[in-house]
Assembly symmetry: C2
Amino acid sequence: MTGQVRTVDGRVAGRRGQATRQKLLDCLSEMLSSSPYRDVKVIDVARKAGTSPATFYQYFPDVEGAVLEIADEVASETAELTELTQGRSWVGKAGWQTAQELVEGFLEFWRRNDAILRVVDLGAAEGDKRFAKLRTKILSPVNSSLSNSVAELQSKGRVDKDVSPAAVAGALVAMLAAVASHQKGFTQSGVKQAELKPNLALLVYLGVTGKKPTK
Amino acid sequence: MTGQVRTVDGRVAGRRGQATRQKLLDCLSEMLSSSPYRDVKVIDVARKAGTSPATFYQYFPDVEGAVLEIADEVASETAELTELTQGRSWVGKAGWQTAQELVEGFLEFWRRNDAILRVVDLGAAEGDKRFAKLRTKILSPVNSSLSNSVAELQSKGRVDKDVSPAAVAGALVAMLAAVASHQKGFTQSGVKQAELKPNLALLVYLGVTGKKPTK
DNA sequence: TCGGTAAGCTGACGGCATGACAGGACAAGT
DNA sequence: ACTTGTCCTGTCATGCCGTCAGCTTACCGA
């Protein structure tokens, strides 16, 4: 499925090549976590990986290109998020449970990959279609699952006709992502982690079902 | 209130100086709208302003420093957002109206300043306290207003005791900001502008009041 | 064992951005 | 015209970017 890994100038990468390539990606990941995106330089990544800048350019066209690779890896790991919503009930106590677990899992996922997701978000917001596509790919499991849940409740008459499942799901996912990105901002303005999560879950539940949860 | 405008090396700026300074800020603003943040260079801004890089460094320590200035301007304009929430009712039809106007106004505000707000968001997410502070300053009118509204409804027993007004308000504002940043992402996945807004308003109303709106 | 071939890496280089400084141009008052 | 302080830019050392030729290393078939 995934075609062979190739260098910029077309050679196929062997074992050793793939190793250095991966090492560069790992080091880039670290750098993204520790310094502002704008200040991440090829030479720093290369130094950290114990290689030369020229080597970096063998495997990636530029920093952005490498970032896209990392984001692609993250997009693959996104499958685990599917479990948080697939086949879950949104009715009664079980529904409240679903909302809580979704929030918990989503925040954890975002926390684990915050550096790269931050950059993807920026790229998408700036209108770069490659980043935008990756962002929707990363969020799509949760997004479409929520959307389906709303649509199902709607077909049963439990949610108003004029609600757009896709719009609601998209907005809720955007909310979760944004809050995850700015968790520090919340704790700084006096909102504790412990009280943030249930309130998020409440908003998600309200958005999906249109009703208050029965706890 | 705002102390005199000063150059990096301490001189006070006169009329002419302030003009070029402002021109540099304007050009930077434009550049942020048209090219990725990572690719905005001092030399380009200077060229666009018809001056030299050295002049730029007279007024700002670096690109980031100039961005902070622009963001500060935006933070001052944020007063207009206060009108969208101050003294509005969240009860019955009037409440639904309030939610709609808030969404409309917020999205418009964000659209008008999207380039700079994008960068502020990034800086805050990266943990830069200066950007984080500016972000809360920009969002605080809407944020605290919503928070107060929830608290008020709560004191009247119309909202559950265990809801945290600050957490809910923060999450809703984050949602609005995130959706505004990624409006293109929505339209690309088949959600039209026209249906996005009422659904956002619905989520805001639900979050604040805990009930479905009466339209 | 021995080339042959492709993969893998780097030194070196022109080009460009950064950031600092000193000195020249300019406006305003005397 | 002269002085003063503001304002701008030419120039320079430094450092990163992105490319290339060329060297080393690993693999493979004979």
